[in-house]
Symmetry: C2
Subunit: 100 residues, 2 copies
DNA sequence: CTTAAATTTGCCAAAAATAGACAAGTCAAT
DNA sequence: ATTGACTTGTCTATTTTTGGCAAATTTAAG
C-alpha cells in the first residue's frame, strides 16, 4: 500500500478509459511523470488537483484529502511514534480550529 | 499555539537556566537559528534531537514525537480537510503496521 | 536614562530536496 | 518482431530550506 491518492487517480483514469498519454498533456506533464505520480513516486502539486478533478469529474475535496493524507504518511514514514504523533497533531489542529 | 516542539525545548532550556548562546554551540548552530527553532520558524534536523535530549536529559522519544507532530501540523496547515486527512493517514499507518 | 546582555528579525548566499525532461527499458498483445 | 502503453533511470533545472551574519529589538540592572 503506497499512495492512496495515486491509487485513486489511477482508478479514475481507468474508469474513464484514458491513457497516461491522453491525460498527461492536460496536466502539462509527460507520461513518465504522471506514471510516477500514480505510483506514488512523485507528488502532484496541490494546485493541479483541481484540474484533475475536472478531468475525471471527481470530488475535489476527496482528492485533496487523499493527497494530504499521503503527505502526512510521507512525513511520518519510518517513524516508530508515527501514530502517536498523528494523534497529537490531530489534537493540536482541533484546538487550533476552536480558537480561530 | 505555534510549535509544540519549540515550546518544549524552550521550557527545557529555561528550566536548566541556560542561554541560547550557551546551548547553540553545543548543537553547532548560532543563537539566531536556535531562537528560530524554539519559536517554530525553523525545523531542527531529526538527528539533532538526540543531542538535545542529552543536553537537557530529556526523554528522546517524547521530543521526537513532538517534533514529528510539528512536521504533520506543518504539512496540513491551511487545509480545511486537515483533520480528516489526519484520520485517514492514521488508519493507513495502522494497516501498514499490521502487515509488516 | 544608559548600558550591556539576550534574543529576535531580516536578508542573502549556500545547500538540499523536489520536479521536469528525455531516453531507454519492460511488458503485453498481436 | 512490431507496436503501443507504461515504467525506470538519469541528468538538469527549479524550488524550498537552511546557515550565517548584521542589525534591531527587548529585557534587566544600575
Amino acid at each position: 500500500m503506497k499512495s492512496q491518492f495515486g491509487a485513486k487517480i489511477r482508478l479514475l483514469r481507468e474508469q474513464h478509459n484514458l491513457y497516461l498519454r491522453q491525460v498527461a498533456p492536460l496536466l502539462e506533464m509527460d507520461t513518465a511523470q504522471l506514471s510516477k505520480i500514480e505510483k506514488g513516486l512523485r507528488q502532484m502539486k496541490k494546485e493541479q488537483i483541481t484540474l484533475l478533478a475536472d478531468i475525471y469529474k471527481a470530488d475535489l475535496t476527496e482528492l485533496e484529502t487523499l493527497w494530504l493524507s499521503d503527505q502526512i504518511v510521507d512525513v511520518v514514514k519510518d517513524s516508530d511514534s508515527a501514530l502517536q504523533a498523528i494523534y497529537i497533531a490531530g489534537n493540536h489542529i482541533k484546538d487550533r480550529n476552536l480558537t480561530k
